[in-house]
Structures are given as structure tokens and as C-alpha cells.
């Protein structure tokens, strides 16, 4: 484990946030499998160290843009289970009053500008947020989350060019989970992903996305530099998605093997790894962490129960919010 911070409280919060993401996703998956959730969703399980390592280096004033696989970013940026499950179930108390759902969940209060269901669709938004920060002399930083699949979108190159030309405080965080939907990344991405950013003169780093401290350490350094006007930056976070492209993508051996999945889950799991580190360093005991897990599970179960019982939006809301006043 890379060394990032020595503060026990910070370490335990990072652990807790990763467990919260995994627990949220386990519950969301159950809701889908038991046909209690409308539509479909894309699980973040396996990638927790990326969202947590990055978001723990940000303040509420810092913005993020998220993706269709966005629950992890939302939790890591500070969202509450209750409003999140309400949103996934299309209930009025959801973060977006049930109008966005899993693929558009946004939490303005913590600087989450929203998930985006167009692959790569939020790259302009993130870069524009950074442009606004620069124009208004604000020192906030924007992190643009996207997957390896989005590196095939032209928009990325247009906005990285402008971000580099104008030294914008934006960090492009490419979550490389090895698969572009149902296709191996190596089949859709020529050359090197970091080299693409470097072509614009953007400093790019590749980091182990299963190591929360390594991710957090790098992000802290880059965020501090971006605040001083040294941005933009690019991070390629090597990670893995435990589920299929979406919850219904069950039979996926035609594009990846069960052995490969087993190897990542057993040997490179970000939560298991960090847990071992916390215990071996004497930061927490197994019992402490079990208690924390149990607490998170209880929170999630309560939030799910609450959301299942919560009211749907009134029919009168259907044509509200088309235009702002």
C-alpha cells in the first residue's frame, strides 16, 4: 500500500466509504434481481478505491462529473443512501425527485454535477466547470470521471485541447476497468491511453486503481497543483468491474472468463486489501471493521426499506422542471 495520509480518522472514513459503495451496490443489485427497481443499472463494485481515493481528496466546493456507472462517485462525494435509493426507485424524495434515476443521479449539495448516460457526454461539462472556476478566480477543481470506453469519443480530445491551452483546473480520471461495455478495451483502444493526454502536453499518470491510498495520494498532489493553476491533469486508474456491463449482463463468458473475475475479486479487491492494511498497521481491529460493516449494512437496509415505502412523485410533477423560472 502506498503511503498517503497518516490520519486514522481519514483512513477509517475511506474504508467506510468503500464499504458503503459496495453495500449500496449489493442492495441495488438485489432490488433489480427481485424486480423492485424499474429500468436497469450499472454496478460500480470492484472500482471503489477509485471513487473514494479521488473524492476524499476533494472538498464540497470541488465538482465532479460522473458516468452511467456512477453510484460509487455519488456515495464517495458525500451523498446519503436514503435519497439515492429513492432516486433509483423513482420516488419523489430522490435526489432528482425520481426524474433522473440511476443514470442521471446528481447531488448538487456535494458538488456532484451528475451521472451522464452518454458515454463521454460529461467531458464538456467538467471542462466547462473548470473554465468557470478560472474565469471567476475560484480555486475549486473539477474531476471528470469516465471509463476507458469514453476514450473513443471525439469530445474528449476537443476538451482536453482547450483545457491544456487554457491551463484549466480539471483532472480527467479515466477508470480503465478493462471493458468497453461488452468488448475488451484492447480491441477498441489503439496505442496508449495516457499518451493521448500527453499529446496535448497534459501530465498523465497511470495508477493502481485497487489501491485507495495510491489513488488518494496522487489525487491530493494533483488537486493541490490544479488549484495553483498547474492543471489540467490526466489519471488512468487501472481497475476492474465485478459485474457485467449492467445488472442484466449475466452470461458474459463470451467476453471475459470466470477465472479472470475470480482472480480480481480474490487477489486484488480494494476493500480486502485496505482492510488487511488497516489491521496490520494497527489502525483498526477485525472486530472494529466488522462492526463498521454491520453498521453500514444496517443503514443500507433501512434506506432500502424507506425508499420502497416512499411515495412516487405526484402526476402534477411530470411537466415541472422542463424550464427553470
Amino acid at each position: 500500500m502506498a503511503k498517503a495520509k497518516s490520519n486514522t480518522e481519514d483512513y477509517l472514513r475511506m474504508y467506510r466509504q468503500m464499504v458503503r459503495i459496495r453495500t449500496f451496490e449489493d442492495n441495488a443489485n438485489q432490488l433489480y434481481l427481485s424486480a423492485k427497481m424499474p429500468g436497469l443499472t450499472h454496478m460500480y463494485s470492484g472500482e471503489e478505491a477509485v471513487a473514494v481515493g479521488i473524492c476524499e481528496a476533494l472538498t464540497d466546493a470541488d465538482r465532479i462529473t460522473s458516468t452511467h456507472r456512477g453510484h460509487g462517485h455519488c456515495v464517495a462525494k458525500g451523498a446519503e443512501f436514503k435519497q439515492m435509493f429513492c432516486e433509483l426507485l423513482g420516488k419523489a424524495e430522490g435526489y432528482c425527485r425520481g426524474k433522473g434515476g440511476s443514470m442521471h443521479i446528481a447531488d448538487q449539495s456535494h458538488g456532484n454535477l451528475g451521472a451522464n448516460a452518454i458515454v463521454g457526454g460529461s467531458m464538456g461539462i467538467a471542462t466547462g466547470s473548470a473554465l468557470r472556476a478560472k474565469l471567476q478566480g475560484s480555486d475549486d477543481v473539477t474531476v471528470c470521471f469516465f471509463g476507458d470506453g469514453a476514450t473513443a469519443q471525439g469530445l474528449m480530445y476537443e476538451v482536453m485541447n482547450m483545457a491544456a491551452l487554457w491551463s484549466l483546473p480539471v483532472i480527467y480520471a479515466c477508470e480503465n476497468n478493462g471493458y468497453s461495455e461488452y468488448t475488451k478495451t484492447e480491441e477498441i483502444a489503439a496505442g496508449s491511453i495516457t499518451a493521448r493526454a500527453e499529446a496535448f502536453g497534459i501530465e498523465a499518470h497511470q495508477v493502481d486503481g485497487q489501491d485507495v491510498l495510491a489513488v488518494n495520494d496522487l489525487t491530493r498532489k494533483l488537486v493541490a497543483r490544479a488549484r495553483k493553476g498547474e492543471g489540467p491533469f490526466f489519471m488512468e486508474l487501472m481497475t476492474y468491474r465485478y459485474h457485467g456491463h449492467h445488472v442484466g449482463d449475466i452470461n458474459r463468458e463470451y467476453y471475459r472468463s470466470k477465472e479472470e473475475e475470480k482472480d480480481w475479486k480474490e487477489n486484488r479487491d480494494p476493500i480486502i486489501r485496505f482492510r488487511a492494511h488497516l489491521v496490520s498497521e494497527g489502525i483498526a481491529t477485525e472486530e472494529d471493521l466488522d462492526a463498521m460493516n454491520a453498521e453500514v449494512e444496517k443503514d443500507a437496509a433501512e434506506a432500502v426499506a424507506y425508499a420502497l415505502d416512499a411515495a412516487y412523485p405526484d402526476a402534477s410533477e411530470v411537466d415541472q422542471h422542463v424550464f427553470a423560472a
Binding site: 462529473t65 425527485r97 426524474k99 454535477l113 466547462g128 476538451v159 423560472a325
Partner: protein, 331 residues
């Protein structure tokens, strides 16, 4: 009253709003020193500097995307899309991102941005620099669409657009940039969704947008000489649309022609005509007629291009038939 060109009117509106509100900035291809190919924005960079008048690379989706993000986080960007035809390039950023943020977030996020662009054929610019694509964006819930018909409207609508908390697309007729009209020196705004009755009449209503307002007014003059009294209405914004004023007029005249420079099929004219049909049917003495651009890519040759857009003479011919009770499209 002083007269200024439509180009000067747009420039004045933007300058006034930039002086009033420090969060307003301008971005697009060649908007700074070049002041755009039409010179509409000349002088703004000298007053506001390159921080607020930003030349971008030729990356339409990229800089429109930046505008969406800047707008979502507290700025009021005006983006300049050099030709209306380039709207196809920015459809995702405009229609999937800008238009939907407010709704998808349950009202939490807003996108106060203006996309100013142009429309209009007969400039001999061929099929990819001559289109009038307002129907494409008017179709998308969450976007407002303004179509100024003179320098006066160009200024008043632009100022309203900049202050609006929604994405607004403004189509300026690129052939009208040098046309002068009386524009007050003192500040004024034109509210969205309020049509302008340009000329009162009793026999037929001519509803025209942007460039077609002039065509309708010219036709009304010619019709007056024949003893036909035409009312001319400029909706000024097609989203929101001032349906009430249009309906009131059609209930009075019992006949209408809707004229817009976009392609006729599935267009602005079709939408307005069908709303009037649905809501004023029993007041009508004739079918409501659509007159849009021909359903062909805009041809280069002047001999062909001029055939594609409605003319005052065609409007007169159609109005004459409608008023005489003759069928224009035989069953």
C-alpha cells in the same frame, strides 16, 4: 429614433449585458479580434478582454459542452456557432446535455446559456452554410428558441436570452445583418412568448418568422393594393409560442398562412398550422397553409437557390386564392 443594423443591435445587447453582469462571457470560433466572419462582435474583445471574449479551436461540440458546464456552475456563457448548419455537430451537448439538466436533476441544476447562431438561404453558400434549422431545436423540450426579425427584436430578445435561466438558441438571419431598423437608445428587453402584430388586417393572417416577416409584410402591401386586408404577426420566439395572439388573429380573419424559412416538412410551419387547426377550426374559412423552404438541400446555383424559399409574390398568390375560396391543394 436612431437606426442601427441588426449586427450592431446584437453587439450592443451583448456589450450591455456583459457590463451589467460579470458572469456573462462569450466564446466561439473567431469571436475576439476577428469579431466573427460577419463582424457582429467587433470591438467586444477590446472592451472586455480575452478572458471574457474567448476564441476557441474549431471544436463545436467541445466549446458548447464547456458552455453547458460553465452555465451549470454559475456563469452565463454566450456561445457563438458560426453557422446554423453546425448545429448538427453539437446536438448531443445541446439536446442531451443542456436541454435536459434541469429536468433530470428534478430542478436542481440550471443551464443559463445562449447559443447564438444564424439561418437563411440565398447567400449563395450552398447546402452546408444556408440551412434554417430552428425546427430541430424547437422540437426538444428544455430549449427556448428566439427568431429576431429586425434589429429591434435582435437586441431585445438577446438581452432577454442572456438573463434567462434556460438554454436559449437564437437564430439570426445572416442576410439581415446589415439591415437597419429603429432601435431606442435607452435600455429595453423583449419578453419571450409575446408575438408582435406588425400590421393589422381583417381578411387573412400572415404569420412569419425571422426573414419571413419581411416577406409577409411585403405581401401584405401587395395584397392591400388588391383590396385584401392582411394581418402580419411575428411570433418572435417559437418556444415559447404566443398561441393566444395567433389564435385571436385567426379567429378574426378566418384564414392563415404560416411562413418560415426552414424546410416545410415536419417544420415550424406545420406545428403552428396544426395548433391553429386544433384550436380555431370552427372559425376557419380555408385550410391553413404552410409555406416553408423546399424539401431539397439548398442548391448553390442562384438560378436554383432562389426557387427554394418563399417569396412575397408566392404569398400573395396563395393569399388571393384562400380569400377567393379556391383550393390550393385539390383533393
Amino acid at each position: 429614433m436612431r437606426e442601427i443594423t441588426l449586427s450592431q443591435a446584437v453587439n450592443e445587447a451583448i456589450a450591455e449585458e456583459m457590463r451589467r453582469d460579470p458572469t456573462v462571457f462569450l466564446m466561439g470560433e473567431d469571436v475576439a479580434e476577428a469579431g466573427t466572419p460577419f463582424k457582429v462582435l467587433s470591438g467586444l474583445v477590446e472592451e472586455f478582454g480575452t478572458d471574457r471574449v474567448i476564441d476557441t479551436p474549431i471544436s463545436e461540440p467541445g466549446f458548447v459542452g464547456l458552455a453547458v458546464g460553465a452555465a451549470m456552475t454559475g456563469a452565463r456563457p454566450i456561445v457563438d456557432l458560426m453557422f446554423g448548419d453546425f448545429i448538427y455537430l453539437v446536438m448531443d451537448q445541446l439536446c442531451n446535455q443542456a436541454a435536459k439538466q434541469h429536468y433530470m436533476s428534478g430542478g436542481k441544476l440550471t443551464v443559463p446559456m445562449v447559443l447564438r447562431t444564424n439561418m437563411g438561404a440565398t447567400r449563395r453558400s450552398a447546402a452546408q452554410h444556408s440551412q434554417s434549422l430552428q425546427a430541430l431545436v424547437a422540437h426538444i423540450p428544455g430549449l427556448k428558441v428566439a427568431m429576431p426579425s429586425s434589429a429591434y427584436e435582435a437586441k431585445g430578445l438577446m438581452k432577454t436570452a442572456i438573463r434567462d435561466n434556460n438554454p436559449v438558441v437564437i437564430f439570426e438571419d445572416k442576410l439581415m445583418y446589415q439591415d437597419k431598423a429603429p432601435v431606442p437608445e435607452e435600455e429595453f428587453l423583449i419578453p419571450f412568448g409575446v408575438a408582435n402584430v406588425k400590421r393589422e388586417g381583417t381578411d387573412i393572417t400572415l404569420i412569419g418568422t425571422s426573414s419571413m416577416v419581411q416577406v409577409a409584410e411585403k405581401a401584405a402591401e401587395l395584397l392591400a393594393a388588391e383590396g385584401i386586408s392582411a394581418e402580419v404577426i411575428d411570433p418572435r420566439t417559437i418556444v415559447p409560442l404566443d398561441e393566444a395572439t395567433l389564435l385571436e388573429s385567426v379567429r378574426k380573419t378566418s384564414r392563415a398562412i404560416v411562413i418560415d424559412e426552414g424546410h416545410q416538412s415536419y417544420g415550424v410551419t406545420a406545428e403552428i398550422a396544426s395548433r391553429l387547426n386544433e384550436k380555431a377550426f370552427y372559425h376557419l374559412d380555408a385550410p391553413i397553409l404552410r409555406m416553408g423552404a423546399m424539401d431539397v438541400p439548398v442548391p448553390f446555383s442562384p438560378a436554383l437557390e432562389d426557387l427554394t424559399v418563399p417569396t412575397p409574390e408566392q404569398v400573395v398568390a396563395n393569399a388571393r386564392k384562400l380569400c377567393a375560396g379556391e383550393l390550393i391543394h385539390a383533393a
